[in-house]
């Protein structure tokens, strides 16, 4: 099978429907194919892509100032990334700011529902035929006719002094005898991020869950405007603190692709090393926390011990427990010395030995099985419809992993085992994570074995104004996307990070149905979507 052999079929189908393609190119967003469409054909393209089984990897809008367009008229450029068989296609169209209307992709791809609402709240694009036009990211910090990502909107906002609570958000309610509502959040009982959950329940059973997020909307996309590449990567490292390597890597990759920068082979391997360390640290923490949520403190304490040990090694070797600010455009900041190299090898062997008895208990402990098997089942169909990647998709039978499907160095030289399960329940998500810890440990040793010699950074070339780049990496949580467009003088004009949580949050709403309310924490933890990563 050759690369992109499905693309010609999509183009033929588009032509059959008399869709006007305004040209496609391999350069603008390489290695993805960029297909420019007439705005009127946006919906058709979405429908045909869905019919061909393409996966929607996200959608974003990019308002261009008059000075940035050839004919001096403000337009909003809308782009969507679609993936199939390891290849990426970016659909692109432009609509006038005066009449920013475009067809919605949500009827064909339910997972992009909130991405479209987010794009509307921040840029003013109106998505026709969107089944749910309620606000999403906007609460009451700005008015409904203001759009923060438009160039004329000041970064500091329009000076509202106090922001009231978003009290009148129209939640969907279920009426009926014995049906009651449980509002939870935004300030939760534990040490977690803020968000609101609205349960409709009868007895103990959850009939419906509706999430209301956006509480940690920090304006990341606006804060990125005007930054230099290094500043952007620092910001990217703070989109979601537990995925700092994943987001920083995606941003670096986008910047390097936009400028034609070359990443030294040693730097690529070190980035992968950091990414796998991040994966292991998060999985260890979460496996323990899932067990703790059903009262099995033993696993929690043991996993927390191993995680802490791992984080301390991060601090000792890389200078940061969570690996922040270690990636820079064009490379990484820390190299490994010979003794550190040996230290890591020893660590990997030690962790491998240490997890064995703990995982053996977790994998075969009847009281745990009682609570985790059959709990929070996400069907394969739902996972696919929503576009779930990472361990959530893998536990429901979707073997999507960019490290395997379309590897960038150093993964092209590594055997990547994609751990998939079919049950789709909490237990399956735990098993996938356990297998990923083992696989990453194996990979870490192979990365050290084959660590190329040479530089760890090269300067990033000067970007052309308007240059765009798309970064896509497989973080511990799943596929992490990053879009970057440069403005004048090498400054960032648009940054959009798409965390995998955009697609796993709606999965949580589906998998909780029919479960009992007290099992919500364990279901939530087993998915562990990021609030900050999706609120932006």
């Amino acid at each position: 099978m050759s690369r992109f052999d499905w693309l010609s079929e999509l183009l033929v189908r588009l032509e059959e429907e008399h869709a006007i393609t305004r040209g496609g190119d391999w350069q603008g967003l390489a290695p993805a194919y960029r297909l420019q469409l007439d705005a009127a054909d946006w919906g058709t393209a979405g429908r045909l892509a869905a019919a061909m089984g393409l996966r929607h990897a996200g959608l974003w809008a990019d308002p261009l100032a008059p000075s940035e367009t050839p004919d001096g008229v403000s337009v909003i450029r809308v782009q969507a990334c679609l993936c199939h068989e390891g290849d990426d296609l970016v659909l692109e169209t432009e609509i006038p700011v005066a009449h920013p209307v475009i067809a919605s992709h949500t009827p064909f791809y339910p997972g992009v529902d909130r991405l479209e609402r987010h794009a509307h709240d921040l840029t003013g694009v109106i998505f026709n035929q969107h089944p749910d036009p309620r606000r999403w990211t906007r609460h009451r910090a700005w008015a409904d006719d203001q759009y923060p990502l438009r160039p004329e909107f000041p970064r500091a906002g329009l000076g509202e002094r106090r922001t009231p609570a978003d009290a009148d958000y129209p939640f969907v309610r279920i009426q009926g005898s014995g049906v009651y509502e449980i509002p939870v959040g935004p300030v939760h009982a534990g040490i977690i991020e803020p968000g609101h959950f609205r349960f409709q329940a009868a007895g103990e059973e959850v009939l419906r869950l509706e999430e209301r997020l956006g509480y940690v909307h920090r304006g990341i996309e606006k804060l990125a405007v005007g930054r230099d590449p290094a500043g952007l990567v620092r910001l990217a490292g703070r989109v979601s603190g537990d995925s700092t390597v994943a987001h920083a890597w995606a941003a670096c990759q986008a910047l390097e692709r936009a400028t034609g920068g070359v990443l030294p082979a040693r730097a690529a391997s070190l980035r992968a090393l950091l990414a796998e360390r991040e994966r292991i640290a998060n999985h260890l923490g979460d496996i323990g926390a899932i067990c703790n949520d059903v009262g099995f403190a033993f696993a929690h304490v043991q996993c927390a011990r191993l995680r802490e040990h791992w984080l301390r090694r991060n601090a000792a070797l890389f200078g940061h427990r969570l690996l922040m600010d270690l990636l820079i455009p064009g490379g990484v900041v820390r190299d490994l010395s010979e003794s550190e190299f040996r230290q890591l090898r020893q660590d990997h062997a030690e962790l491998k030995r240490a997890v064995a008895p703990v995982f053996a208990v977790i994998e075969d402990h009847p009281p745990l099985d009682d609570r985790l098997i059959g709990t929070g089942i996400l069907s394969r169909a739902d996972a696919q419809a929503l576009g779930c990647t990472g361990f959530v998709g893998k536990a429901s039978g979707l073997g999507l992993d960019r490290r395997h499907d379309c590897p960038v160095p150093p993964y092209d030289q590594l055997r990547v085992e994609v751990a998939t399960e079919t049950a789709g329940d909490v237990a399956a998500r735990v098993r996938v994570r356990i297998r990923e810890v083992r696989a990453s440990l194996w990979m870490l040793d192979r990365l050290l074995d084959a660590l190329p010699a040479g530089e760890i950074q090269t300067p990033l070339p000067t970007p052309a104004p308007g240059a765009m780049g798309l970064g896509l990496v497989d973080g511990w949580r799943g596929e992490t996307l990053c879009f970057v467009r440069f403005g004048a003088q090498g400054r960032i004009a648009r940054y959009f990070p798409r965390d995998p949580s955009w697609f796993t949050w709606p999965a949580l709403e589906r998998l909780i149905i029919g479960n009992i309310v007290p099992d919500f924490p364990v279901c939530n933890k087993s998915v562990n979507a990021s609030y900050a990563g999706a609120d932006l």
């Binding site: 009451r140 910090a141 700005w142 923060p148 909107f153 000041p154 970064r155 500091a156 906002g157 329009l158 509202e160 106090r162 922001t163 009231p164 609570a165 978003d166 935004p186 300030v187 009982a189 534990g190 040490i191 977690i192 991020e193 803020p194 956006g214 509480y215 940690v216 909307h217 920090r218 304006g219 990341i220 606006k222 804060l223 620092r234 910001l235 703070r238 989109v239 979601s240 603190g241 537990d242 700092t244 923490g285 033993f298 304490v301 043991q302 927390a304 011990r305 995680r307 802490e308 984080l311 301390r312 601090a315 000792a316 427990r321 969570l322 922040m324 008895p357 208990v361 609030y531 900050a532």
Partner: protein
């Protein structure tokens, strides 16, 4: 059951020496903190954590306070589920406008005397995120802050030191 016991016995208590941090200092800080809490708060300190716009890194490190290496509860500090049970609000993140009212209400719900600790660079001075249409920046712009623990994120040892500072200074 035997496997669990065997593992638990084999690993034993790890709350003692650790390879990287200065353990003597950890113990000294802990003992000092314990003394302060005994003297001023009747033996225990209840902390309510509020995230008002953090990236979750601070939360991960606050979680690490409970792991067997740090075991914060041995010093009489514990995290509570409601601000009404709390002596201290531990606030992380730049104050997002969407969390503004929630933070004010949480602060009002905390009984006096109350201490507010801003943890992490974002909460202390805005950090990388700072002012924007979506955020107010540091926590002290909304509610009075008694102590700042900077760091992006602050390591668990910094949090313990900071908590000690909060009471030693009074």
């Amino acid at each position: 059951m035997l496997r669990i016991l065997r593992q638990a016995l084999r690993i034993g208590v790890v709350t003692e020496p650790s390879p990287v941090h200065d353990d003597a200092e950890l113990t000294r800080l802990g003992v000092e903190l314990r003394r302060q809490i005994d003297a001023r708060l009747g033996g225990s300190l209840a902390i309510r954590h509020v995230d008002v716009g953090s990236c979750n890194a601070c939360e991960l490190e606050i979680h690490a306070l409970a792991n067997p290496y740090h075991d914060l509860e041995r010093f009489g500090l514990h995290f509570v589920a409601s601000p009404r049970h709390a002596d201290v609000l531990l606030v992380t993140g730049v104050v997002s406008r969407h969390m503004e009212t929630a933070l004010r209400r949480t602060w009002r719900a905390t009984p006096a005397p109350k201490y507010v600790i801003a943890a992490g660079t974002c909460a202390c001075d805005g950090g990388e995120l700072g002012d924007s249409y979506a955020g107010h920046g540091p926590v002290e712009r909304l509610i009075p802050v008694d102590l700042k623990i900077p760091g992006c994120p602050p390591a668990p040892i910094d949090l313990i030191k900071g908590l000690l500072g909060a009471f030693a200074a009074r």
